[in-house]
Amino acid sequence: MIHKKKPKLAVWKFASCDGCQLSLLDCEEELLAVAGAVEIANFPEASRAVVGRTYDLSLVEGSITTPHDAERIHKVRRASKFLVTIGACATSGGIQALRNFKDVKEFISIVYATPAYIDTLNKSTPISDHVAVDFELRGCPINKYQLVEVLSAFLNGRKPVTPRHSLCIECKLKGNVCVMVAHGIPCLGPVTHAGCGSICPSYARGCYGCFGPKETPNTSALSAQWEKLGSSPISIKRAFRGFNAFADAFRKESELYEK
């Protein structure tokens, strides 16, 4: 294939654990192919070298939690032709969005010896609340095969195959037996976005919803079924307050179970 120039790739970190950008380094077999297909121009986790000031593709990890980051994301947007957010933090605010349901100032006063040094926002918000995002890749963490798929799609000018349907479809494609029906285990699969490969149900555990809400999620119907299986209101609230607590559908459902 004739490339005039390899596209320049940048990886940016906001409030996050680094797990998603590490998925890129975790690509193992595909890593050389990735390195061959793009010029890794700005990726502090992998290299100190910084090439140029503008990028063909930016992968953005993390949520916006500080005034400084709320500014910085606009610079990243301006420097990027395509901006793809990766992971639950960047796409829904992440686990740190649990602060959004409480008073963050209280936390600061309890946790930090000198609260005055802390400059933080009241809410942890997804990147798409701040700038235009070209594509969102879900997951906590993202699935490295899906990341390679997004890169392949970008390089070849096609739409990535990352379906928005339920996790149940992945279970059925895999041949899993439904843990909810056959074992009575509460599972978030029926309202959760596919993508992980049904890891937890494959080990007879219920889905934890790491990939956030699927398209048209019917959270209240699922909660009703969880109640029938014996789940308490508090456990239902906690189930929806995971890594994607601030994703609209999950947030609304958990708020229904708030006293």
Binding site: A37, L151, H165, K172, L173, G175, V181, A182, A224
Partner: protein
Amino acid sequence: MNNSAKNDYPPGLIRADDLEHLLKALGAGGFRIQAPVIRDQSIVIDEIKSAGELPAGWTDEQNRGHYRIKRRSDNAYFGYVVGPYSWKKFLFPPSTAILEAKRTGNGFQVSAAAETVSPTAFFGIRPCDLRALQILDRVLIGSEYRDPIYQKRREQILIVAVNCTEPGGNCFCTSMESGPGAAEGYDIVLTEMIDAGQHNFLAQAGTERGNLILQQVPSEKATSDALKSAAEAVQMAARKISKKIDTADIKEMLYANAEHPRWEDVAKQCLSCANCTLVCPTCFCANIDDYTDLTGETATRVRRWDSCFTLDHSYIHGGSIRSSVRARYRQWLTHKLAAWHDQFGSSGCVGCGRCITWCPSGIDITEEVAAIRSGTVKAKAI
């Protein structure tokens, strides 16, 4: 396929202890054997080598959104009904590469994905699932447009059916005229009989190749008493079935009720998770995905199970036609029970009850049809 049953082969009585010989004969005939086995506390279909791997002494408890296996008081080999996966998965695989393309100079070269298929016996397939195969045959290879993947696999299948003598909690095959006894389409059909310490199978060949297999199994001539009690056992199962769908004019009834308020009610309970369609033995919808590698040198086209419950399924330029769950549930049920008649000349439902059991929300198709019928809104001007 070409194995429509003829009952001119003499029925034989096989002792349960001799079932092993039937499996050996199938193995010797070059068949891999797919049969019910226990995995993940469920009865699924997988490859077996001996009768000892069958779930003897187990049954399944099925209810709306509920499945458990339990011990039986006897040692019946087939004392349960259908599990989470139908035989569709062997003939219409969940995911399969259709073709590959490689870049060559200025163009590209396309090759069909190679696949080898070995002769396989479907051992223990129930009458409802057998009927489902006949429906899939009609849909996928019954017209001038044939699915080569299905056809290639289907040609390798030998059918050892097992009549039902005990229905499950969600069975309604009697409504769909697909059971509990198998009428046709088998190479061999077995009826299990446990009575007064006797544990036997009435074995009936339906085709010459089935007959040749049975001839290798020790058996005695079935007495008229044995024939009678096997027939009674199947009739008894039919009487025990409590769920039903009234199929009278069902096509017209459903077409007339496209705006019934019940669709809105069921949409409140429906998760649009797609489980019902994927466990259904006749749902055949698939999606085609194209993949490229990072270099853009090779591309793969993959077919995988899809469902009318996803938004992408009805996506055309500009958006999804069935954006509401109401529209998606209505589409599924109406296609299965009504439009299927127009399209393929039969119902698409065989009454296996899987969509009821494996719905995490416990929606019952028989109840939905009854509710729509009872409140039939006569078509009226808007």
